[in-house]
């Protein structure tokens, strides 16, 4: 199926992105994409939608089609068989296209990083995506195995710029 895309420009500049994020801040629709995870993170994603954590209080809503979505919740180490479908789904997301890589699998490949049938995390396909002309406007990585609901909420807050990120690269002398 040919997908016709009307893109305002190649990549959003810093200012344009800020503006787009500003609009998103009050209403974020997310699409959940499992690329071969163990289910742990997926269940935690469902968990943040349920009464105890209820992310609807940030205006977040889970939608069933990538075309409605603003943010892709990506879990799993990306198995080779899910890769084409991942790319298809990412293409379907209208700009600004944001990604939350949830769980250690999506961030660094977790325990599967050297398996023959996984890619090993989202960072490894970022260049390919760029070559295919799929621009990702902002990514936030959320480590955790599984990423607990609070961690996911914190990641969303970082994505929307509600809080400052805490993690910093550290190098200490022993």
């Amino acid at each position: 199926m040919q997908v016709q895309q009307i893109q305002p420009d190649e990549s959003l500049g810093r200012g344009a992105l800020e503006k787009a994020l500003q609009r998103l801040r009050k209403s974020v629709w997310v699409f959940h994409l499992n690329t071969g995870s163990c289910n742990g993170c997926d269940i935690e994603i469902l968990d943040v939608l349920t009464p105890w954590f209820d992310v609807e209080r940030f205006g977040i809503k889970l939608v069933a089609s990538p075309r409605h979505a603003d943010v892709i919740l990506l879990t799993g180490p990306i198995t080779i068989k899910t890769l084409p479908r991942l790319i298809k789904a990412l293409r379907g997301v209208p700009r600004p296209r944001l990604v939350l890589a949830i769980g250690s699998c999506a961030v660094g490949g977790n325990i599967w990083f050297e398996s023959y049938s996984t890619i090993g995390g989202f960072p490894r396909i970022m260049d390919t995506l760029h070559e295919l002309g799929i621009t990702i406007d902002k990514i936030v990585f959320i480590p955790g195995c599984p990423a607990r609901p609070e961690a996911i909420i914190y990641g969303v807050a970082v994505l929307l710029g509600l809080v400052e990120q805490k993690s910093q690269y550290k190098r200490v002398k022993a």
Partner: protein
């Protein structure tokens, strides 16, 4: 017949259970295992943790003039095996879970060790701290062997024994 309407009184009785997390305390229990923290003053760079770590989130790498214990929290499975294994008890399991980051490099933590170069062949093989510790435990006799890499050490030992013969 209309028993299903009773869900409304049920909900009223329960009330709202939502925890408004970023503005309220999270639901973390006392036994939760979060990211680990390496105490640089205790760490000797022995690498016991890197061998047990199931996803190899901890690794020892030689970079220039130093030996680096690199912790990549993006691969960590938060099992705490490293803390159990560490002979120096330098690794502590914290309750930190707010690790989200925009850039992957912010998820790395490096502990830098001074490295020792083999006196004979010039390979960089072990941290200075570990050698110092072994020396302090074993004492003087090892002095000359301590600064040799395992291969050279074996050669040295063999040649010594052969000379004594």
């Amino acid at each position: 017949m209309v028993k299903f309407v009773r869900v409304i009184p049920l909900a009223t009785k329960v009330g709202t259970v939502t925890i408004k997390y970023p503005f309220e305390k999270p639901l973390v229990t006392e036994s939760f295992r979060g990211a680990i923290e390496v105490d640089p003053s205790k760490c000797t760079g022995c690498g016991a943790c890197t061998r047990i770590c199931p996803p190899k989130a901890l690794s020892l790498i030689v970079e220039g003039g130093s030996l680096i214990l690199r912790y990549f929290v993006g691969k960590c499975i938060f099992c705490g095996m490293c803390a159990d294994t560490c002979p120096e008890k330098a690794i502590k399991v914290t309750r930190e879970f707010e690790l989200a980051s925009e850039h992957i490099y912010d998820l790395y933590t490096d502990v830098e060790h001074e490295i020792i170069t083999c006196k004979r062949c010039g390979t960089k093989f072990v941290s200075k701290k570990l050698v110092d510790k072994v020396r302090s435990k074993v004492g003087e006799p090892l002095d000359e062997l301590a600064y040799l890499c395992p291969t050279c050490r074996r050669i040295e030992m063999l040649s010594k024994t052969l000379i004594f013969r």
